[in-house]
């Protein structure tokens, strides 16, 4: 037995060295740290208003946010992640009065969020490992090891794939060009392409829909006002969600009886408001904050 253990030792050393290196250097884990920091800051500051959603809602970070406003939205978050955050808010923020939740159609697509493992430590704290991801506590702990973390592995392999596809050039060239400098036809092409990817398999995951309902009901039970919100996007991006799917999403949202339902999807048309096809820039965000203030009386700015 000893000889077997001795032979296995070099493999184990290599394995743990790689993991340590990845944990310390990978952008994935830097993102995790950013993610946790944001949640921790909300836990500490206990804002009265919180935003939940993906990168579209996250754009409120471009504003000089009032101390009453908390930004818990994060790029690539899905319904499950939003739900876990409401559980965190339930435990740590009794002052909560309003929650803005994203009702955008892409939230109801069939993709798996790459952020799910970022919430492991909170699930352990909440003693709630099985409910959402159906993972044991042991799973949540072992996912701390990068090479045993499915999300990290997906991120790593996709990076490798894009490097190979782009012939060794890792970055995407589109991102460096300003949205206003792009021709209309090119804008339409880019927006449509992203729209197709983001609106795949809308309303096909019943499990997510149940969680969404639960999320709203839990907040309502705590007398927290739930405001649905759709952020402005390029029209060609939104067009990629077919009418039938969009109707399904709208019907689902209407049946939830949210305290307010704000749809700004096509409220801002000028390219000057946009960072890209589906994200506002600072000017756009300032413009949107005025609309939100007008409709809800909530001032997002300091």
């Amino acid at each position: 037995m000893k000889s077997i253990l001795i032979k296995a030792t070099p493999f184990l050393i290599v394995f743990f060295t790689i993991n340590f290196f990845v944990y310390k250097t990978s952008p994935f884990y830097k993102q995790e740290s950013k993610y946790s920091n944001r949640i921790d800051s909300i836990i500490n500051s206990k804002p009265k208003v919180v935003f939940l959603g993906d990168s579209h809602s996250e754009s409120i970070k471009l504003l000089n946010l009032s101390e009453n406003i908390g930004n818990l939205a994060f790029g690539a978050d899905g319904i499950k992640e939003m739900y876990i955050k409401t559980l965190i808010l339930k435990k740590y923020n009794p002052e909560l009065k309003y929650v803005f939740i994203s009702t955008e159609p892409q939230m109801f697509n069939n993709s798996i969020s790459s952020n799910s493992t970022f919430l492991n430590k909170y699930l352990l704290k909440l003693n709630n490992s099985k409910e959402i991801y159906n993972k044991s506590k042991l799973n949540l702990i072992t996912e701390k090891i990068p090479l045993l973390n499915d999300n990290y592995l997906r991120y790593f392999l996709n990076n490798i794939y894009s490097i190979i596809r782009n012939g060794g050039n890792k970055s995407d060239n589109n991102t460096s060009i300003k949205w206003t400098d792009i021709s209309s036809s090119e804008k339409e092409k880019i927006a449509s392409s992203t729209g197709i990817t983001d609106h795949n398999g809308i309303m096909t995951r019943d499990e997510d829909l149940e969680i969404y309902k639960k999320l709203v009901n839990n907040l309502k039970l705590r007398n927290v006002k739930v405001i649905g919100v759709r952020f402005p996007v390029n029209e060609h991006y939104l067009k990629q969600c077919n009418k039938e799917d969009l109707d399904k999403v709208n019907l689902f949202i209407n049946e939830l009886n949210l305290d307010q339902n704000l749809d700004y999807s096509l409220s801002l048309n000028s390219a000057t408001y946009f960072e890209n096809e589906d994200h506002l820039n600072k000017t756009g965000m300032e413009e949107l904050s005025k609309l939100i203030y007008k409709d809800t009386g909530i001032d997002l700015n300091k």
Partner: protein, 482 residues
């Protein structure tokens, strides 16, 4: 508790450490295996432990009674009692609703209407496996092929031995039971070989099966939305999913048993390299096909009957019952019946082919393997489909002109671009070992290579396990539901 979960790793490390420390104490070894097997099973649902307990105790008592009784009629009655208990439990949990519904549908054909009493029955994991295992024990005693076991602890350990409890191999008492009657010593060679086989099984499960499942599940669940070309790939992926899933489980079960000094029977032998349907069943789920051969086909008369019609009927019955064993659904029965049909077609075809010896033998072999794979894969459509109509619409779409549609864009929509590449590389890796070790006890046999080559192969397997594993969490094994 799944073999491909961290819970199992922790569980096995604890059990093995205690087991390793107790190499001089047979009673402790068996007690430990029994307790750990019950913990392993109870992890899913402790209530169903009672069923294993009923099967174990009743067959222990009945087996002993048959052995001690010389009266033929009484021996037969005792055997019937054992079969009644085992098949009664299996029938209730697995087939009650199917028979009730089928009966209602049948009488409805004659204009009689009834409201069937359908029950919400949870199917206990692995019930078909351990039931068949204990049944073979009493049948073999009745046939005088073995003596009854006089030690209840040993017998209970035999019935519930955790590595093969929920998905086989379905062991024969004459092979497995005596192994619980002698002390197991730690054997470095067996430990290493067992660990390798378990790792190979893990590769088949988490790399091959779970990656293929990602696409096969989407395609079968939304088959109306895809063209024939995608459906063809879907069923091929399912063929490798079910093979990787089930043979992977068997390899892990056999591997970890070897690590503990217990020898389990081989359950798979590169089945997709079979040259005909008969050969396929000599290589696929061997423990079940030999069970049906010994306890159904041969008692029916097997091939030693005068009429060829009767022989054919025996084959049809055996295949169909084997299909029904898999589940209470007509699709499984059709799947079994289809195999018997293919068997007859291929027998007739090979007779004709043998008379025309134009093609070189190796080419004929490749041709036969291909034809057999196509036939087996076609039959998988019925196995995987939700219903008979689903299977028919799936086949109709394949037979339509949409078979010519480029499937690539559909795969892009289904998941990441890299996953199909991972599947292709992994299948090539699997095929290399399957072809190289077509008739070996398991395909990852590399002991004959020089050390550097061996090290390279082991490293490649570890790398595939880490980087090419499916990233959608630990998936259940398909055969648990049977």
């Amino acid at each position: 508790m799944l073999f491909n979960s961290f819970e199992f790793v922790v569980f096995f490390v604890i059990v093995f450490s205690l087991y390793y420390k107790s190499y001089n104490n047979l009673k402790f070894q068996n007690t430990l295996l029994l307790i750990s097997s019950y913990v392993f099973y109870g992890w899913w649902d402790w209530r169903f432990l009672s069923l294993i307990l009923i099967s174990s105790v009743s067959d222990y008592i009945i087996g002993k009674a048959i052995d001690e009784n010389s009266n033929k009629i009484q021996r037969k009655r005792l055997l019937i009692l054992s079969l009644f208990i085992n098949l009664g439990i299996l029938g209730f949990f697995k087939y009650y609703n199917f028979f009730t519904e089928s009966f209602t549908d049948f009488i409805a054909l004659f204009g009689f209407e009834s409201n069937p009493l359908l029950l919400k029955i949870v199917l206990p994991v692995g019930i078909s496996f351990y039931t068949f295992q204990t049944m073979s024990y009493t049948i073999d005693i009745y046939r005088g092929k073995m003596n009854s076991n006089k030690n209840l602890l040993q017998f209970m350990t035999f019935v519930s031995f955790f590595p093969q409890l929920v998905a086989g191999p379905i062991e024969r008492a004459s092979h497995l039971l005596p192994q619980f009657n002698k002390k197991r010593k730690f054997d470095v060679f067996e430990f290493k070989e067992g660990a390798k086989q378990a790792l190979w099984g893990l590769f088949k499960k988490i790399v091959i099966a779970d990656n293929c499942a990602f696409y096969a599940n989407q395609i079968f669940e939304n088959s109306d939305s895809y063209p024939g070309s995608v459906l063809v790939i879907g069923v091929i992926f399912f063929a490798f999913q079910i093979y990787g899933d089930f043979s992977g489980y068997s390899d892990i079960a056999i591997g970890i048993s070897r690590m503990m000094g217990i020898d389990l029977m081989q359950n798979f032998k590169s089945p997709y390299l079979a040259e005909n349907i008969q050969d396929f069943w000599r290589r696929w789920h061997i423990s079940l096909s030999t069970w049906f051969r010994d306890y159904v086909y041969i008692p029916l008369g097997g091939s030693k009957v005068d009429s060829s019609l009767r022989r054919s009927l025996n084959i049809i019955i055996t295949f169909t019952v084997s299909g029904f064993w898999h589940g209470a659904n007509w699709t499984f029965i059709i799947w079994g019946a289809l195999h018997s049909l293919f068997y007859f077609i291929q027998t007739a075809y090979s007779k004709n082919l043998n008379t025309v010896k134009i093609l070189p033998a190796s080419l004929v072999k490749v041709f036969n393997i291909t034809i057999t794979f196509i036939a087996v894969t076609f039959a998988w459509i019925f196995f995987r489909a939700e219903s008979f109509t689903h299977a028919i619409s799936y086949i109709s779409e394949i037979a339509s002109s949409t078979i010519l549609v480029n499937p690539l864009s559909y795969f892009k929509e289904m998941g990441s671009s890299i996953q199909p590449i991972i599947i292709v590389i992994s299948l090539i890796y699997l095929s290399v070992f399957e072809i190289a070790n077509r008739n070996a006890s398991y395909s990852f046999q590399v002991g004959h290579y020089r050390t550097p080559v061996k090290t390279l192969i082991y490293c490649s397997l570890l790398l595939l396990l880490i980087f090419f594993r499916a990233t959608n969490g630990a998936q259940e094994f398909i055969y648990f539901q049977f």
